[in-house]
């Protein structure tokens, strides 16, 4: 299990190793064809800042070689915002007094139909809070069953599950799981996640092993940028985690997400660090140079302008026209959003912008028959 590997990696030593990377380390990393985590540390370090354009060019080259001039498009669907956790930064926080929704079957289907009217989406990401009693595995399984007639590829972003539960959901057509570790800093993790199931660090970090053991096709990982001041150390831990998973669960495809928090204007949780566009660009390029195959996903948290510029340079999956409140596609109720969407363009507008920079949006890149064969 990865928790044991993580114990062996010292946070502070890693932080100082990144800070002491030199121009020579960066040059060496840039000239290698197979990079290790040490090289990744050089590329995300301040020493690599003067190499940003070189990194962009390499990232562009590797991405186009491996993925072609395409962007895999997906749409997230929040089916419930009920949640028993108390993550200090999240809009679904248990003590937030706003009304909670668990979509009924009819409402879920209405959402599916509404999404299909926006664009030919075939990659669906079902999102929930953590409420196993009222919106647990049977509820998610039902939502997957209902989605099959509408979408070719079903992923979930829900609480960490057991190996058997992941396996069970694959029998309902689920072939991908996204789960953000949020932070790999074990001690501080509990400051951000003080109560509920989510406060159990090892259960979450070993969830990726359980997904691998269950034979999940695609695993999405993420660090929430804004929690740990030393975000470079945090993403380095994720790079170690990726290498570990690739070695153990080699039939699985992995993706990286770098959700970054912005300062909130109406109070609430303020991020401990704010990552600049330039830093996110450097991190994106470094990730692609480190691993030519890993998917890099940008959500609508990012602005339209930034997404358009970054689209050819390393990003391989994007969402569009996302609503982060349950029921948001069919109707537009004033309910609770998990986070604020920055890129508010329609899927059609995003499509046109991607084509404008020479990238073809791909809607369907999976077929349900692959999932059926497993069963």
């Amino acid at each position: 299990m990865f928790s044991e590997e993580l114990e062996k990696i010292d946070w502070d030593l890693t932080t100082s190793a990144i800070a002491s990377k030199t121009e020579m380390d960066v040059r060496r990393a840039l000239s290698k064809s197979h990079l290790d985590v040490d090289d990744f540390m050089a590329l995300i370090s301040p020493a690599a800042e003067p190499f940003l354009e070189t990194m962009a060019q390499l990232s562009y080259k590797y991405t186009r070689e491996r993925f072609g001039n395409t962007m895999s498009m997906f749409v997230p669907l929040y089916i419930t915002n009920s949640c028993t956790n108390s993550c200090v930064y999240c809009g679904f926080h248990i003590s937030n007094p706003m009304k909670r929704t668990i979509l009924t079957e009819e409402e879920i289907v209405n959402e599916y139909r509404a999404i299909k009217k926006l664009a030919p989406f075939d990659n669906l990401l079902l999102v929930t809070g953590e409420n196993p009693a009222k919106a647990g595995v049977p509820y998610i399984a039902r939502a997957l069953d209902l989605a099959k007639p509408y979408f070719a590829n079903l992923k979930i972003e829900v609480m960490p599950l057991s190996t058997d539960e992941y396996k069970e959901l694959t029998h309902h057509g689920m072939n991908g799981v996204i789960c953000f570790q949020e932070t790999y800093h074990k001690a501080n993790y509990n400051i951000y996640h003080p109560k509920g199931m989510k406060s159990k660090f090892d259960w979450r970090v070993n969830g990726f092993d359980r997904m691998g053991q269950a034979g999940v096709h695609s695993i999405g990982m993420g660090v929430l940028i804004g929690l740990e001041k030393e975000w470079r150390t945090d993403v380095t831990m994720m790079a170690y985690h990726l290498r570990y998973l690739q070695k153990h669960y080699w039939k699985t495809k992995y993706s990286f997400n770098f959700p970054r928090m912005r300062p909130s204007e109406n109070g609430g949780f303020q991020p401990n660090v704010v990552m600049s566009d330039r830093e996110l660009a450097q991190l994106t390029f470094a990730t692609r140079i480190f691993d030519h195959d890993v998917d890099i996903s940008y959500s609508t948290r990012e602005s339209a302008d930034f997404r358009d510029h970054m689209a050819p340079l390393g990003v391989t999956t994007m969402s569009a026209e996302s609503k982060t409140e349950p029921g948001g596609y069919y109707s537009y109720p004033q309910t609770l959003e998990q986070f604020h969407v920055s890129d508010e363009r329609t899927a059609k507008e995003v499509t046109a912008a991607l084509k404008g920079v020479g990238i073809e949006p791909v809607w369907k890149d999976w077929d349900q028959s692959f999932d059926l064969m497993k069963n």
Binding site: S33, L52, T54, L58, A281
Partner: protein, 258 residues
């Protein structure tokens, strides 16, 4: 230099030797000792299993050398499992270099039968080191079947052509959770050093030493090359692709300056 560990056993040397093709057993023994090797493979077909004083075996057995019987000559999994059990009894070791090459011309390993035999032999308690194609997927499958190492080929046996499979070896090494021993095709010390620089755990050499003008000196040359290559790998090599220098105009990142 890090120690190599296979199936819990430590090795100081990362050079494995084969024992065929020498023109005398005396010369073979001298080469083995000069190379510093601690792992030597021998074809069970070459040994008279009835004769406890077999001349070839007598020249191989030394306390610091792990004997690695191989199944060279078998053509499928069934024959390999049978031969392995014979070898275990005769040589008194459960270590086995699994070789299944039905094709007598290029001696290329049979992927399907090798995987099948590995699964069976592991269940029978063998420490299995399979000779195999430089096929990254196969190597992961052999690992999952319980192989102690994988031994992908650099080039066909005896060709001395070096690392023709270099790209695939790199992927195998990157993905492996068990030691990767580059076997077959290594024709010169520079090839051995190259394999070690890539991050291979060890190399197996036979023909290049056995048929050298002076096999004993060539054994020393390989010993030095393997050590140099490993040392370079552990020290952290610089990259080899020329750095792609950005032009002054920063066409891709200028938007960040706005």
């Amino acid at each position: 230099m890090d120690k190599l560990i296979i199936a819990g056993k430590e090795f100081n040397s990362r050079l494995f030797l084969g024992t065929g093709k020498f023109n005398s057993n005396d010369l073979m023994e001298k080469a083995l000792l000069a190379s510093g090797t601690e792992m030597v493979t021998v074809a069970m077909k070459r040994i008279d299993l009835e004769d406890k004083e077999d001349d070839m075996l007598r020249h191989i057995v030394h306390p610091h050398i792990q004997l690695l019987p191989n199944t060279s000559g078998v053509r499928n999994a069934e024959e390999a499992v049978f031969a392995a059990q014979m070898a275990r009894e005769a040589f008194g070791t459960n270590w086995l270099k699994l070789e299944i090459h039905p094709d007598p011309r290029y001696l290329l390993p049979d992927t399907v039968e090798t995987l099948k035999a590995t699964e069976q032999l592991v269940k029978l308690g063998f420490v299995v080191l399979p000779y195999c194609q430089a096929d990254p997927v196969l190597c992961k499958q052999l690992e999952e079947a319980g192989a102690a190492t994988v031994m992908p080929l650099g080039a066909p046996i005896g060709t001395n052509r070096g690392l023709q499979t270099r790209e695939f070896l790199q992927i195998i090494i990157e993905q492996a959770g068990i030691p990767v021993v580059v076997d077959a095709g290594i024709g010169a010390p520079s090839h051995a050093a190259e394999a070690m620089e890539l991050g291979a755990s060890a190399v197996l050499v036979n023909t290049a030493i056995a048929v050298a003008g002076n096999p004993v000196r060539m054994a020393v040359a390989f010993k030095n090359a393997v050590e140099a290559g490993r040392e370079a790998y552990e020290a952290g090599l610089g990259g080899s692709t020329p750095l792609f220098e950005a032009s002054a105009s920063s066409p891709l990142t200028a938007f960040l300056d706005k």
